[in-house]
Symmetry: C2
Subunit: 293 residues, 2 copies
Amino acid sequence: MIREAGLEALKKAGLGPGDIDGIFIGHFNGGFLRQDFSASLASLAVPEFRHTPAVRLENACATGSAAIWAALDAIESGRIKRGLVLGFEKMNTLPSHEIGQTLLRCSYVREEGETPGGFAGVFGSIAGEYFERYGDQSDALAMIAAKNHKNGTVNPYVHLRKDFGFEFCRNPSEKNPVVASPLKRSDCSMVSDGAAALVIEPNTSRSLEGPSVRWRSRAQINDFLPLSQRDRTCFEGASRAWKSALKLAELRLEELDFVETHDCFTIAELLEYEAMGLAEQGQGARGVSEGLT
Amino acid sequence: MIREAGLEALKKAGLGPGDIDGIFIGHFNGGFLRQDFSASLASLAVPEFRHTPAVRLENACATGSAAIWAALDAIESGRIKRGLVLGFEKMNTLPSHEIGQTLLRCSYVREEGETPGGFAGVFGSIAGEYFERYGDQSDALAMIAAKNHKNGTVNPYVHLRKDFGFEFCRNPSEKNPVVASPLKRSDCSMVSDGAAALVIEPNTSRSLEGPSVRWRSRAQINDFLPLSQRDRTCFEGASRAWKSALKLAELRLEELDFVETHDCFTIAELLEYEAMGLAEQGQGARGVSEGLT
């Protein structure tokens, strides 16, 4: 899995393992595998990486970003020329009832570690509180789910490549049961095994086989971990990060053509509309109902 | 623990939490705690860090170094001005028979994950192979243990502040039993809870309360994880890293007054003498027997 993603990214960049002088592994694990020290897995997968410095980064749901940041820092500091960023997770090794428990290790375990339903339970209760405050948003959440599944049909790497449609996502059914009220299965991200890889380097004049992107700005903000210490219906950290990143890039939100955001649960995407400034607090549904997203 | 170490490091640097714009957490965990997402613990310990970007790094025994490197990269790239590096581990939450198993998660679990005695067993077998090849080194290992415990008596933060002496370390006894032949308890690092912190910044003109060091060079080399894929009695990765770091610093080993190396087990320290070039392969004992260390 690591090998496949890593070598494909290199191929698309027109490079080989010997062109990489830093490997940045994004890996949560938390008990999904007994194998920790994930950075060491790079040379197990691709023996040519035997002596290449590799390091693991972990920041819960922002683990992939953490690995990308480390690569950007290493390149911008001049320490390395080209970095390979590898993200991978193997979740299906555990019995399914333990998967939720394992993921909860990146919540504040002392208060939230026993939430029934795992993170679906955590986000279900966030959704419940949001509904209480701003009214039932089931239509909006179903629209978000339907939109994302539809987008998935054009992604060759997607786990479930099927356009489920609004009706399926809106109404509980045998195939779409309530997981953690008000969230149904279609509101929740799936348990999956997967790997992804990126090659990062300064501007290149090579012609590339794969798509390339450029970094214009980046911002990271942390917030208190325990939900009890903050307003759960408002992603203050994300809001601050958006403001800061847009300012650094000298752009306004309206100037962006494309946003990819964390949609672990549909309610999270809705709250992120508010965090990025697409809608006022309590008005997140407009993001999807008015066709903005 | 995090709070205490972090605030003390800041105090000695003449700074407060507000002066830090990046936090780099070195944390293995691997199951010692159910709480993952360790980066989030910084603001739990010091609420002023609420919005400061924090990230966790993990590289098995080199976890602390990984966190320091990330801070150096971030500073050298100009992204941050001052970083706080925090390392911590809480090992004593588990029943003692599980501690060895948990640490083995940073070995190659598929081949070494069931080694009796945990990492003591791994290094015991390395020592056994070394003894077979180069003769019994029990005297040298006992001298290393005695030297390190003696050095520990002048370190206020040490776990066990006692000069045990060569005789105690050399001869198995009720208080110093064989843990994984040929290693005795005094050859092995201890299970401990602890935290450490460093403030990293470019040159400063402030007068500092605490000691300060400067970076002259740094090098990282990885090697294959499975011991079966390399010569276990020779730390090739460490050897390459030493050569590279000395070259970058334009120094020879003889010009160094002080070396701090990883002494998880006495046999590891002996092998590192060879890796750093203090002694030829098979001659590591000279490092301590001739009083070089």
